[in-house]
């Protein structure tokens, strides 16, 4: 990570906070799938528009088809969360989240499942980080940006806007590997540039 944004100690403290948030979200996901979730060390990076190329390439490599949800969080801690799903086991999700079959298994029902789970993961994650930072945040309703499309098509949805920003953004990448499923779930949190100073201050307090 670039030295400009945070120093080593600040990065360390932030890393632990994300770790805790990831653990909570992971537990929620584990319940949803009634299985084990493999947690890896989350990636926290300062990225410029060019660095996104690397991230895009990785996404193209990992997922053939994806669904992408987007959810905004605002306040003292603000930014966007993209929830990236590979082909999901809709049947498993429906059972656990308790959505009945009466409504059918069409696209709207599947979108609803993804939104439900995505919202639970995203809000758990962001709320936990903001609580630990003692910064206030709220979440807006999530939206489906892409539903089961080839990864190259979703590319713009994920990164289109970020490309236009100058300077560095803070990108937090949390990948959940579900045991027995090849394709992971992923949360990509982009923190808004203008709340980075407040974030830095909050971290400095905890070193």
């Amino acid at each position: 990570m670039s030295e400009e944004l945070f120093n080593e100690d600040e990065r360390d403290v932030l890393g632990e906070m994300v770790n805790i948030a990831m653990g909570k979200a992971g537990a929620t996901l584990a319940e949803a799938f009634a299985g084990f979730v493999n947690l890896r060390v989350p990636e926290i990076r300062a990225v410029s528009a060019e660095d996104l190329r690397e991230t895009r390439a990785r996404l193209m490599h990992t997922y053939e088809r994806i669904s992408v949800l987007e959810q905004e969080f605002f306040g003292e801690f603000a930014g966007t969360i993209a929830v990236v799903y590979g082909p999901a086991s809709y049947a498993a999700l429906r059972q656990v989240l308790g959505f009945d079959d009466r409504a059918g298994d069409g696209r709207r029902q599947r979108e609803e499942l993804l939104l439900e789970l995505g919202n639970a993961l995203a809000s758990t994650c962001v709320q936990e980080i903001s609580t630990l930072l003692e910064l206030r945040t709220g979440l807006r309703p999530p939206r489906v940006m892409a539903f089961d499309v080839p990864t190259s098509e979703a590319d713009w949805h994920l990164f289109g806007e970020l490309e236009t920003l100058a300077g560095q953004m803070l990108l937090i990448d949390i990948v959940f590997h579900l045991e027995g499923h090849e394709v992971p779930f992923e949360l990509m949190v982009t923190v808004q540039q203008n709340c980075l100073p407040a974030l830095k201050q909050a971290l400095a307090k905890r070193i």
Partner: protein, 336 residues
């Protein structure tokens, strides 16, 4: 946080619940852990025709049996357990409560579209003891989107009709001319093969004269269907002229193009076209010229050469396929 707000309101002698109650732009329903209704604001009263005094203290699902109990119960429980908000969008679920839409607007819909947020409510001790369902009327938004989608569909239809031949449903000549240029560029950029076939119905004039123009149209449509069924999704079959067709074949080698067109020719030869009288059967044959993409050949030249090969097929007795052979007819050099 809540205590601070309460104190502030108390100091101003204001009733906090009055705010929520009179909020007419948002429906507020608060239930406890057993889904007993503990708050029902004016929005809900007016839209449901159910007064607060008639529902407070009752079970939500007893009063509204048409609610999707399985779904809503689970959603509320989840909110209580996770202690965080969840959402529902009209785009996935048109409404929670089936209320009538406002009758002021000229709407296509008879029910209200709703976005909802469900969030936990804490007691004085700070424990989550209830859930609040906030209902937003988004009917206007939904209607606007519906109209937008309709306009987009219509625009796409219009675009489609500009590039289609009305009779056969195939792509038209205008499309063909544009597409062949595009395909040549693409093929050259990615170093992929491409072939073009010009197809002409043999003795079509005779068919028209013998059976009439209606029959002629029938024959054209039947041929279009027959050929299309044998092509790949990436191929473009276009009506080029009265009885002439252009076939653009991306990603195909010259040999395979020849094989494919021979297969098509044979299928046409073997096919019977039944006319509208239900009795008369017409037999057809086609003549074909096949021109593969070659270095230094412009799209226009490619079409011309395919046409010349078609002519050669006619000369050779019709009902045959002429495939370009470099040693027989060298390509005239010209700049691209």
């Amino acid at each position: 946080m809540g205590a601070l707000v309460m104190k502030s309101l108390q100091n101003a002698s204001l009733d906090a619940t009055d705010i929520v109650d009179n909020l007419l732009t948002v429906g507020i329903v608060v239930v406890d852990r057993r889904f007993t209704v503990i708050m029902w604001n004016r929005f809900m009263e007016l839209n449901s025709n159910l007064r607060a005094e008639d529902i407070l203290g009752k079970n939500l699902f007893d009063v509204f049996p048409e609610l999707n109990r399985n779904w809503l119960e689970k959603k509320i429980r989840s909110c209580l357990v996770l202690r965080s908000a969840s959402f529902s969008s009209w785009q996935q679920r048109p409404y929670l409560f089936r209320f009538k839409a406002s009758n002021m607007l000229s709407l296509e819909t008879d029910h209200m579209y709703q976005d909802a947020a469900i969030f936990p409510v804490r007691d004085a001790a700070g424990l989550v003891e209830g859930a609040c369902i906030a209902i937003h009327d988004v009917t206007e938004l939904a209607e606007a989107k519906r109209l937008l989608d309709l306009s987009l569909d219509q625009a796409l239809d219009l675009e489609e009709s500009n590039r289609r031949d009305a009779l056969t449903g195939l792509f038209n000549r205008k499309f063909f001319d544009e597409q062949i240029s595009q395909e040549v560029v693409t093929a050259r950029r990615h170093n992929r093969p491409l072939a073009l076939a010009m197809i002409d119905i043999d003795h079509f004039k005779t068919i028209n004269d013998t059976y009439g123009h209606v029959a002629g149209d029938r024959v054209l449509r039947a041929l279009a269907t027959l050929l299309n069924n044998m092509l790949r999704g990436s191929d473009y079959l276009c009506r080029y002229g009265g009885e002439e067709f252009g076939l653009i074949l991306p990603q195909i080698s010259p040999e395979h193009a020849g094989i494919l067109l021979e297969r098509l020719r044979k299928a046409v030869e073997n096919a019977d076209t039944l006319l509208d009288d239900g009795v008369t059967v017409v037999k057809l044959t086609i003549s074909v010229g096949v021109m593969p993409l070659r270095e230094g050949v412009a799209p226009g030249t490619m079409v011309r050469m395919a046409d010349e090969l078609l002519y050669a097929s006619k000369q050779a007795g019709r009902n045959c396929v002429s495939l370009y052979k470099p040693e027989v007819a060298p390509v005239p050099t010209e700049s691209r």
